[in-house]
């Protein structure tokens, strides 16, 4: 650098200029402050987030896998449960159906018996009623008929009754059909 120092009339480039030194320091200090405030935090935040995202992604994947496995287990168990349930319901339905059928049968039989019984009773009652009526009518008819045939009035109460009684007893001892036919004619 001797030639620089030796040059006559040339300015010495090493000479410090206060204005330039101060400007350099001020500009650079402002630059450092701006970088510290606006640049470094942004980059560091991004790096930290990226690290967290990579680590978090792994953890998340593991978690998702575990969750999927849990869900699968649950579904499997639910499916098994549902199968059991379905089988049980089918069994129940079958049993219930059988019960219902037998109950129905029972009920129908009872009803039929009841109807038959009622019919019997009614028939018997009607028959009894008819018999009573017949007995009265047949008595009257027979008396009238006998009176006409014999030609004498059976006015005597006691005799008349006796006659009727005897007649009916005869009728009863015989079959019902000759009596009724005798009555109808």
């Amino acid at each position: 650098m001797n030639w620089i120092l030796a040059a006559e009339g040339e300015p010495n480039p090493l000479t410090p200029h206060v204005a330039e030194i101060v400007l350099g320091i001020v500009v650079f200090a402002i630059l450092v402050a701006l970088v510290r405030k606006f640049v470094v935090p942004n980059f560091e935040k991004t790096f930290a987030e990226r690290t967290a995202a990579i680590e978090g992604g792994m953890a998340q994947a593991e978690k998702a896998q575990a969750e999927a496995k849990a869900a699968l287990d649950e579904y499997t168990s639910q499916l098994t449960h549902a199968r059991h349930e379905a089988a049980r319901i089918r069994e129940d339905a079958r049993e219930q159906g059988a019960t219902i059928i037998s109950e129905m049968r029972q009920q129908a039989q009872t009803e039929a018996e009841r109807i038959v019984g009622t019919a019997h009773t009614q028939v018997a009652a009607e028959r009894q009623q008819v018999l009573e009526q017949l007995r009265t009518e047949v008595g009257a008819i027979a008396t009238t008929l006998a009176g006409r045939i014999v030609g004498e009035s059976l006015e005597d109460e006691a005799r008349r009754r006796r006659t009727v009684e005897r007649f009916i007893s005869e009728l009863e001892s015989q079959d019902a059909s000759p009596a009724s036919s005798g009555g109808g004619r």
Binding site: F47, R50, T51, I54
Partner: protein
Amino acid sequence: MSQSGPFTEPPASRSQDPWVAFGRLVAGVGIYGLCGWLLDRWLGTSFLLPVGIVAGAALGLYLVFVSVRER
């Protein structure tokens, strides 16, 4: 200058300034040369300046060797 990503942590290498040898030589020559020159002016002699320069250079070199040996 290894381009490792921001996620790996390399061991901190406490490497030293490679110019430290130059600095020590300059400092040695400078300070002991100055001492020799001042002594020359004070005592009216003229041989202490080169002695100071050589001694300073020697001390600087010695210091460089010591620091290299230490590591």
